[in-house]
Symmetry: C2
Subunit: 327 residues, 2 copies
């Protein structure tokens, strides 16, 4: 049996997962981010121990423990290099859990874990090379190459939210100008609407839907307004689609994956988003002479993080086509 | 012994290469692009046969034949999907050579071949993950992942010249607006200088160096003018550096390679280019918490294409760490 943990800024979700990708038992506890990291890791240990007890198994039945968390993770050393949501820097998460449980422990970026889950059990199943782009308050991504998580030489790869795609009216949190997530995340859409309302003094049903309070504006409201023909809504969605398409074209021209999958909260805009995206990307393909990857929506929803985390160890030690260990 | 062929729009360079990467004998013939592809392939066959004869060996001594050419190559099928310089579309290059020589034949994009050569014998030797960016009239690139050429799921990857990085004053040949090669190639630098001379009517020593004729302007002249303090020269180089840095930051944030190597004609600007580039990239790194890849200049020069081509087959069948075939 595998243990998967999805460590977020709000909640820690942990689960027991079998080799077929079935979540047999899971629980969620509050992260209470901001506390000493030792307290958070202690809670996580107790959470896993309770799952094992409740399931009536023992730690000996556990093959490995995998953790997905937002930020930069060094999977070789087990350190969390950097995690904004938890205010963590250089935290020996993997090492502490390994010492406690005396089991193999793997830490990965949560988008990498979700990409793995989609590639094993969801939208990109069977594809050797795939890229997951998760669009929510920010933009995360995970890369699968030759069926395995690819996180780069310094665990800093697959940060597509920080791909620079053009000048914008505000800077990204990372300090750079023009990151994809400042154009195409939910936050970016809201910022753009507020910016336009303030600078152009235009009328929009978005403000009505938000009951006159810009703090209530979210990407769902903007998509709804666009669907109903609201001019600012349409312009905001079109702008988001334009830059997301540039991001996807750049991924095609660099990595040329078999499939690109769109996940995260914004992907709930569903077919409306996907149709527009495919149309725009189609206009920008490098050549009509070859087939490019398909663009699809994620299938596993919120469980992708936990599920993918459980399989990090299995994937790391995966035997690729040749019939032997690769790592 | 290996045969490597660097098929360009002007010349076909072929060579006999040993397993240690020594070019034992080589020759160059004119491509005469525009001819029926069968005539070009026939010339290539004769060229290889002459090398074998001149070296006093037989075709039985040849392990494999590798060809690098600009454009999109399908290495599995042996077809050249698309090659602008040769006016080729869907040409069965690999198939014809395989039938003629009855040997394994591999075709690859020439920048991928050069990236492989640098990774085996040059600037990126020893690095598992590296990226070569060649800057000349256009911008090409080659990606090495886990010591092997990575060309994507449809052989359309590693086209970094067509990464979109911001709006420009002219469109790329590919039809899109804002491709990296319209900002950072030699052609882009020349276009920018002429654009500025025409629109701003400014004075610049670049025009003097070009003997008053804009057709004589090239990137070397522009770099020389910048080094001497010419304002337009400095602005043009700074602009090129700015966008090349964006391209490199995007590569760091997506692929996070161990090393990025700059090759092609523009890399002859050497340390002057490299120092400026490292400074600009340094300002834009995502976090200071981790080590990013080094940026270096290519070492193998014009021979990289031929040398890398020779090793495509060896690389394809490379046994990675696990100790068995991977492909």
């Amino acid at each position: 049996m595998l243990v998967g943990i999805d460590l977020g800024g709000t909640a820690i979700k942990a689960g027991l997962v079998d080799r077929d990708g079935r979540i047999l038992l899971q629980s969620s506890i509050a992260t209470n981010a901001g506390r000493d990291y030792r307290l958070i890791i202690e809670d996580m240990q107790k959470q896993v121990e309770k799952l094992i007890k409740d399931k009536g198994i023992s730690i000996d039945d556990i093959e490995s423990i995998g953790i997905g968390a937002p930020g930069l993770m060094n999977d070789r050393s087990g350190y969390v290099i950097y995690c904004t949501n938890l205010f963590w820097e250089n935290v020996p998460l993997g090492i502490m859990l390994r010492e406690h449980f005396n089991k193999p422990v793997y830490v990965e970026n949560d988008a990498n874990a979700a990409a793995l889950a989609e590639s094993l059990f969801g939208s990109t199943k069977g594809a050797g090379n795939s890229v997951l782009i998760t669009i929510g308050t920010g933009i995360g991504s995970g890369i699968i190459i030759d069926h395995k998580i690819y996180s780069g030489s310094h665990y800093a790869g697959a940060e597509m939210g920080h791909m620079i795609v053009g000048p914008n009216f505000y800077r990204c949190n990372c300090g750079n100008m023009g990151c994809l997530e400042t154009f195409a995340s939910a936050t970016a859409m809201v910022k753009y609407v507020i910016h336009r309302l303030e600078t152009d003094k235009i009328k929009s049903s978005i403000l009505d839907k938000a009951e006159g309070n810009t703090e209530n504006i979210n990407s769902r409201i903007i998509f709804d307004a666009a669907k109903e023909g609201d001019q600012l809504g349409i312009e905001t969605v079109d702008r988001m689609i334009k830059y997301l398409s540039i991001g996807i074209i750049n991924v095609f021209n660099i990595l040329d994956p078999e499939i690109i999958v769109i996940g995260g909260g914004v992907s709930r805009a569903g077919g409306y988003l996907l149709d527009k995206l495919k149309e725009e990307v189609g206009k920008m393909l490098f050549t009509s002479g070859i087939k490019y990857g398909d663009i699809v929506l994620a299938q596993l929803g919120n469980e992708a993080g936990l599920l993918g985390a459980a399989f990090i160890g299995v994937n790391r030690n995966r035997t690729n086509k040749g019939g032997c260990e690769n790592a």
